[in-house]
């Protein structure tokens, strides 16, 4: 059985309920309900954040970002996984499968 908390290139991810977020122009600010820390997301991070308000597979997430930004597929997958890994460690996203 796959550990649901392990992030892989095929995972389905969703924004955690343990946060409150706010759009700031094309960026975003998040408050973690676990740590009480505030986080700022740049435009790309905010795009990912908006996309994962509903559960979404990482490949679908990358497809959506590639239609929005001029980025090659391998860099996109690598950077999205890096971002999600960081967000996962902060308790701001959950891995569903």
């Amino acid at each position: 059985m796959i550990n649901p908390m392990v992030l892989s290139p095929a995972s389905v991810v969703v924004a955690s309920n343990e946060q409150i977020s706010c759009d700031v122009a094309d960026e975003a600010v998040l408050l973690s309900m676990q740590s009480g820390e505030y986080y700022g997301l740049n435009a790309v991070g905010a795009s990912i954040w908006r996309l994962i308000q509903q559960p979404r597979a990482v490949p679908a997430l990358c497809d959506a970002l590639q239609s929005e930004y001029d980025i090659d597929p391998s860099s996109c997958a690598s950077e999205v996984l890096g971002f999600l890994t960081e967000m996962l460690a902060l308790g701001l996203v959950e891995v569903r499968s």
């Binding site: 946060q19 409150i20 977020s21 706010c22 759009d23 700031v24 122009a25 960026e27 975003a28 600010v29 408050l31 309900m33 009480g36 505030y38 700022g40 997301l41 740049n42």
Partner: protein
């Protein structure tokens, strides 16, 4: 001439007054009807339709129907916020408990018998009214503000970062005092700040360094001296549009001789900074309530420039700091309050 209004009064003195006199005071653009005397506020008629009513008691507060929302510990003192059956309760280990009704209009303060009334007044004019104002949609920030010309400039930051000193020094230099400690900002647009308590609380060395007798008539002694009874021309008495907010970052004197410099914050950074400078700490109000303030902070950061103000921490450079801020914000040909005919 500075006049003292007497020794620090304790709640024991208060208990001897029965029935208490009821007074009206102008604050935050409304009227506070109060059983407690506020020498730092401008008296007005004790209207039958006040915005807020403060009642005081020296009895213990009711102890049923309480749900803890947040707690904060500072040294030996603890602060807590509770939800009650009819609103909120702010509890201070060193002063007492203040019940605030759901609509924010009624404040019942149960004062400890040994509490300093200076602290009770500071709690009412700070956290208690901040909760009442937040319930009406204001963003309540921990800071001071002055009006320079037709626009307001606010100074934010933790304790001991020089907010009150800067507001007092700018007022002495011709700006008009809007408030100290609590800034009530209507997010707008346009964002406006309400006039707060017309007083500034200063440490003794700072109070001694400023020419307080040129701008205020009364100095109330206490843990900090409270400068009040300002001349009308030294006060902003109506809602004022916000030109800028500064988050003060004290720095040691540098080699380039500058007393102050500033860097603009990006909107995301400004939103976080404003949320973090809220008058009521996140740990007190609970993170869900704190998070709800983010929208107000973002709304203000979207239309008001927010800067980091690097200010040299040196009282002897205060005049240069004031001059620099006036250069940034004073409109051309502005008449200072000292030039205004009385």
């Amino acid at each position: 001439m500075i006049a003292s209004v007497g020794e620090i009064a304790s709640a024991r003195d208060l208990a001897l007054r029965s029935p208490p006199l009821v007074r009206g005071y102008a604050v935050f653009g409304g009227v506070l009807r109060s059983a407690l005397e506020f020498p730092e506020l401008r008296p007005v008629a004790a209207t039958d339709a006040p915005d807020w009513t403060l009642r005081v008691a020296t009895a213990a507060p009711p102890s049923t129907g309480l749900t803890l929302l947040g707690r904060r510990q500072l040294g030996r003192e603890s602060y807590a916020l509770w939800r009650t059956t009819d609103g909120l309760r702010l509890e201070y280990s060193h002063a007492g408990a203040c019940d605030i009704s759901q609509n924010g209009a009624l404040l019942d303060f149960y004062i400890h018998s040994d509490a300093l009334l200076e602290l009770v007044r500071a709690i009412v004019l700070g956290p208690a009214l901040a909760l009442a104002l937040e319930s009406s949609g204001f963003l309540c920030l921990h800071g001071s503000a002055v009006a320079i010309g037709p626009r307001a400039v606010g100074f934010l930051g933790p304790k001991h970062h020089g907010k009150s000193t800067l507001a007092a020094a700018l007022t002495a230099a011709g700006a008009r005092l809007i408030g100290d400690d609590l800034l009530a900002v209507a997010p707008g647009p346009p964002a406006k700040v309400r006039p707060g308590a017309a007083s500034v609380r200063l440490w003794e060395d700072t109070a001694g360094a400023l020419a307080l007798d040129r701008m205020c008539g009364t100095l109330i002694p206490g843990v900090k001296a409270t400068a009040t009874d300002f001349a009308d021309c030294a006060l902003a008495q109506s809602e004022t549009m916000l030109a800028a907010l500064y988050v003060i970052q004290p720095v040691p004197p540098g080699t380039d001789g500058r007393a102050a410099w500033r860097t603009p914050m990006r909107r995301t950074e400004a939103t976080v900074a404003l949320a973090q400078q809220a008058k009521l700490a996140d740990s007190l109000v609970g993170l869900r309530t704190a998070g709800a303030r983010l929208a107000s902070a973002a709304a203000v950061a979207a239309i008001v420039p927010v800067w980091t103000l690097y200010a040299v921490r040196d009282l002897s450079r205060l005049d240069d700091l004031v001059k620099q801020i006036l250069i940034w914000h004073q409109p051309p040909h502005h008449r200072t309050n000292s030039e205004t005919p009385s």
